[in-house]
């Protein structure tokens, strides 16, 4: 049920879990834990719908490579960025959790098997259809992959009734996290402020920070500063290893044998390098998206190709006369970014209206990031060419070396990952395998900020799997108290 800000209980034993932030991670956890009978307080900083007074807290600076303004790269109200997400989902590959040959920092402290038990529940929660299994493309070093591509679920609508009616879940809007008080390795209270400048302090057995892939870092940096580093004494990696999925239109292909890739039947197909190819080419993961062209655009592409490859003209004419189906395709890609200490969220000098320093994103693509997309395209292009499946053309910016990344177009997926990295030791990251702050026995982080590496798949399914796993962990902890 909804409660007003003034109604938030300050009693010491009112809540089992206080969840801060009501986006994909926060709502998933609040609904799951309250359905299991735990007393949950869900504190959302925004309003029930979009409001400028809340959204303005998301303004911030970007330093480095071109990036989407932080203000427009996410939404700050009930439901979070699931109010405008695309619903495109796929789990990470098993090898995404391991050290990759090109960058050993990609290793997570857990295997994909730790998340697999939560796949179906997470898919149900997000209303995803479970897609077919990946298929290796023989002789290509590539596999055909699948995404869930249904209508994007708006979590605040899907769970409107639970948020309104549940007797074990209290949801408070306009409750903005301002500070965390810690004593002997336990967070004893979280302080919230509304837009009228009123404050409430909440006590709970467990706290979960679920404010998104930029705010989790920003808020912990701020709370840590205020607590004189009592919250996160080993803070060297706080805000660091921040990652995105660079996105771009990367070229075109003409497929003489579209059936070899399944494009005879489908308009959109997805490919990614297999693990061996990542190793032999010394690259990170990459998702290539082939969108079939219409007949007119295909004909134009045939003419473009023939200009550069006149010896193909005769064969193409014969094939066309025989009625052989040839498809042109536009290629788009989303690729894994190297986890780098240098890419980070930090606090700026400027404060938002609530008095919290704004975020500054320092973000740059590395040589490995550029290499990943170029080599992935060469892998596909060589397969098409050497097996007479087709020919591929790299976009101008990829064809020329050094690669000059596009300065406009998609740029990135608005997938904010890292900053509170999961790791084995507090020297290497901020949360442990259970998503718990190393120095606090009752404080957890939910969301893609805990990702140690990003693969190429959109992050929300994985972060909901992690959130559900955290629910099980908290359930065990709560059971041991009773």
């Amino acid at each position: 049920m909804y409660i007003d800000f003034e109604q938030i209980s300050e009693d010491s034993d009112a809540f089992d879990v206080c969840i801060i932030g009501a986006g994909a991670a926060g709502i998933s956890m609040a609904v799951t834990l309250s359905e299991r009978g735990h007393r949950v307080l869900l504190c959302e900083g925004g309003d029930a719908d979009y409001s400028e007074r809340s959204q303005e807290c998301y303004r911030g600076d970007v330093v480095g490579d071109p990036y989407i303004p932080l203000y427009g790269a996410r939404l700050r109200y009930l439901g979070g960025s699931t109010n405008h997400w695309g619903g495109v989902c796929r789990p990470l590959d098993g090898y995404d959790f391991r050290a990759k040959a090109a960058a050993s920092e990609t290793a997570w402290p857990i295997e994909r098997g730790a998340l697999s038990p939560y796949y179906r529940t997470a898919a149900k929660l997000l209303d995803l259809e479970v897609p077919p299994a990946d298929q290796t493309v023989p002789g290509a070093g590539l596999k055909r992959i699948y995404f869930s591509l249904g209508n994007p679920t708006r979590l605040k609508d899907k769970y409107a009734e639970t948020l309104r009616e549940s007797t074990t879940l209290e949801c408070c809007l306009t409750a903005n996290l301002m500070a965390l008080e810690t004593q002997n390795g336990t967070v004893i209270s979280a302080t919230f402020q509304n837009y009228q400048g009123d404050y409430r302090s909440v006590r709970a057995r467990y706290f979960v920070l679920a404010c998104g892939g930029i705010e989790n870092s920003r808020l912990l940096l701020w709370c840590n500063q205020q607590s004189q580093r009592q919250l996160i004494p080993q803070h060297a990696t706080l805000g660091r290893y921040w990652m995105e999925h660079p996105h771009a239109t990367v070229g075109k292909a003409l497929l003489f044998e579209p059936a070899a890739l399944g494009m005879d039947d489908e308009y959109n197909i997805f490919l990614s390098p297999i693990a061996d190819a990542l190793e032999s080419r010394q690259i990170l993961n990459c998702g290539l998206r082939l969108h079939r062209m219409n007949a007119e655009a295909t004909q134009e592409l045939i003419e473009e190709l023939v200009e550069q490859a006149p010896a193909l003209a005769g064969r193409l004419r014969v094939w066309q006369a025989q009625g052989k189906v040839i498809h042109g395709a536009v290629l788009r890609a989303a690729w894994e970014q190297e986890p780098r200490f240098e890419n980070r969220i930090e606090l700026s000098q400027e404060l938002d209206k609530l008095g919290v320093p704004r975020s500054r994103l320092v973000w740059q693509q590395s040589e490995l990031d550029r290499r990943t997309i170029r080599e992935s395209m060469l892998l596909l292009g060589e397969y098409l060419r050497d097996n007479e499946v087709g020919r591929l053309q790299l976009a101008d910016w990829l064809a020329d070396t050094p690669v000059q990344l596009p300065t406009d177009g998609e740029l990135a997926g608005r997938h904010h990952m890292g900053g509170t990295r999961m790791s084995v030791t507090p020297e290497e990251g901020i949360v442990d395998r259970d998503c718990r702050l190393f120095a606090q026995e009752n404080f957890y982080v939910a969301g893609s900020s805990v990702f140690a590496s990003a693969g190429h798949a959109n992050p929300t399914l994985t972060l909901v799997q992690l959130a559900l796993r955290l629910c099980d962990h908290l359930e065990t902890k709560l059971a041991s108290i009773i």
Partner: protein, 59 residues
């Protein structure tokens, strides 16, 4: 960089291909031949013309 502050502007951001540009990136990729010389046989060395990956015989 100025941004449309309305909700419609933000929702539109979800569907538009992209928004703005600010700085040109600096670092470079290894030239392809150098980067992959150890992995590939000379027979499959790419012939690239205007971005097209071709066989020598295509010309």
């Amino acid at each position: 960089m100025s941004m449309d502050p309305t909700r419609r502007g933000l929702l539109r951001a979800a569907t538009l291909a992209g928004i703005g540009a600010m700085v040109l990136p600096g670092t470079a990729l290894l030239p392809v031949v150098q980067a992959s010389a150890t992995q590939r046989s000379p027979a499959s060395a790419p012939v690239m013309v205007k971005g097209w990956l071709l066989k020598a015989g295509d010309r």
